[in-house]
Amino acid sequence: MPTDERLSDDQLQRIANDLRDNWHTGREVDFEEAIAFHESLPASKQFAQVLESADQPLLQPRAGVPCLEEQIDLLRYLQDEGGADLLPTTIDSYTRDNEYEKAEEGLAASRGSDENELNGFPAVNHGVEDCRRLIRALDAPVEVRHGTPDARLLAMVTLAGGFQSFEGGPISYNIPYTKRHDLATTIEHWQFVDRLCGAYTERGVTINREPFGPLTGTLVPPSIAIAVMLVEGELAATQGVRSLTLGYGQVGNLVQDVAALRALRKLGNEYLRDEVTVTTVFHEWMGGFPPDEARANGVISLGGATAAVAQPDKVITKSAQEFQGVPTKEANAAGLRTTRQLIDMMIEQDIDLGGIDEEQALIERETRALMDAIYEAGDGDVAQGVINAFDSGALDVPFAPSDAAKGAVLPARDDDGRVRIFEFADLALPDDIKEIHAARLGERAETEGRDQSFRMVADDVDAISDGKLIGRPGGDNSPAGGASDAD
């Protein structure tokens, strides 16, 4: 079982040498020459520098297509027409499964046709030089966004290729994404990724790391998400990462979202060592979207408004075509502009919302309780602790497909639309906190004249796409024909 200890230079070198032969582009990776490439980049392409020196939230979309020229055109469009401050490159699903052979076939098929045969950019197949062409062609810094449990070769190739930010982590890219990867193995794989980022950082090329905050994207209670962010932040910091962007996904209750982002920033600064610069990223709603672009714009706008009040360092935007899957570049750029309009109109207003401090205090208490349980489960070692805590259910994520988590915790909204915990299972929270959740859910049950049950959970999962925040009985208010408006 891995412990939270820094890999030695020898271990880093040995693992890198082994990975080099997994796909031919791995042999193109040369660390010294990569450092020289990064040093040649202007300050405007240095991810950590741009993010950490910004004075208001920076906007970043998601985007990835198979071929290099099309990816450059897409990102230029999002930069120029969408006003993206930071750019992404989203990696395809085959690469996420380390199926480079299949990705190669998909890339070849995409090159020969107008259709995209992959759902993202297969960066390992493109190799170091094509990644550098992408970085050179754009004006903003670019991040690798993916969902890969074993991202070691992907990190080697993309960091050598000039990317300066890398999303994911051993929990956040395991628990919500796969069924059969054990946590001990993904932690070991991510220790390598983080150590590699640390090695660049020590040479003056700061690589930003971004644990994936939304997790399953389905009504995740803020304290659970924040605890996972802190654990991944600590694991990364041990390996030498010095720029960490901790994430959180919008739940849709304005007060709770602002409180959660404030708690995330505060606890990030408190738990992570002083040498680490902590920033925060807010993901616009990751759950089911309305099947109607006009209503979807409403969801996106609430995200922009929340960002204006909470002022995270970065916002990951959504498009109004979310319901249909991968958006057109026009819709993707529109999502950026809609968010920008809300932030720019609201950010200078002095908005005083009641209840944020109390909600933030509750989130902090819950998070501290979960962190205590994790340390205890590992006798002070956070790597062992998080493995044991997921195993026992002391830490859990709702709707987790992974066998590494119990997935027994169930959330539901309270009468105010805040996400509470309906089923705690073995989650390590003290009784007085459980009573607060139960009381809030009790208020809702009373309002609705029904018992607290899984039925509320089911109704809440569908509520936003049905046109409401809270899944009240008979609450499906989507106008007739709403579904067909998406066509």
């Binding site: 069924k179 497909p401 169930l410 899984f454 999962v461």
Partner: protein, 151 residues
């Protein structure tokens, strides 16, 4: 009396490479609340896992979920495997069963032909499926309530 009111066991899982977990999580809760003994195999479940679970738990129904559009390919041959294992169980399938906007009646006919006893779309409430299950297993509402009280 106890024999008659023994909880009925059902197998639940998402077939193929599909990782959509929300639907079966809710269905599991609903079935348990209705008094059924639920063996939830989770996401990314292979055909033979459904078959061996049905056999080892002496299940009365196998409920297959699929949301990513490849249900037909993933379910092809499942009923042969069940037959080969000598199992005569009720089989339901539900979710987004076809890629794109195909007509649900057509989809329903396709899956009925493959051997499924009932075919549901993604909009089906858990209660509706449970009602059908009670009917097909010839459970009376009273008995189901009895199960819940006992359970």
């Amino acid at each position: 009396m106890t024999g008659k009111y023994m909880p009925r066991t059902v197998i639940l899982g998402v077939i193929g490479s599909d990782a959509h977990v929300v639907g079966i999580t809710i269905l599991e809760q609903a079935l348990s609340a209705a008094g059924f003994e639920v063996i939830n195999l989770g996401v990314q479940t292979a055909q033979d896992e459904f078959v061996s679970a049905a056999k080892s738990h002496d299940a009365e129904a196998v409920l297959v979920s699929s949301l990513y559009g490849h249900a037909r390919q993933d379910c092809e041959g499942l009923h042969d495997e069940l037959d080969d294992a000598g199992l005569d169980v009720l089989t339901y399938v539900g979710g987004n069963l076809a890629v794109g906007q195909s007509d649900f009646e057509e989809t329903q006919a396709t899956f009925r032909q493959m051997g499924f006893d009932r075919v549901f779309d993604a909009e089906t409430d858990p209660e509706e499926a449970i009602e059908m299950l009670r009917e097909d297993l010839q459970l009376t509402t009273t008995e189901a309530e009895q199960i819940r009280v006992d359970g």
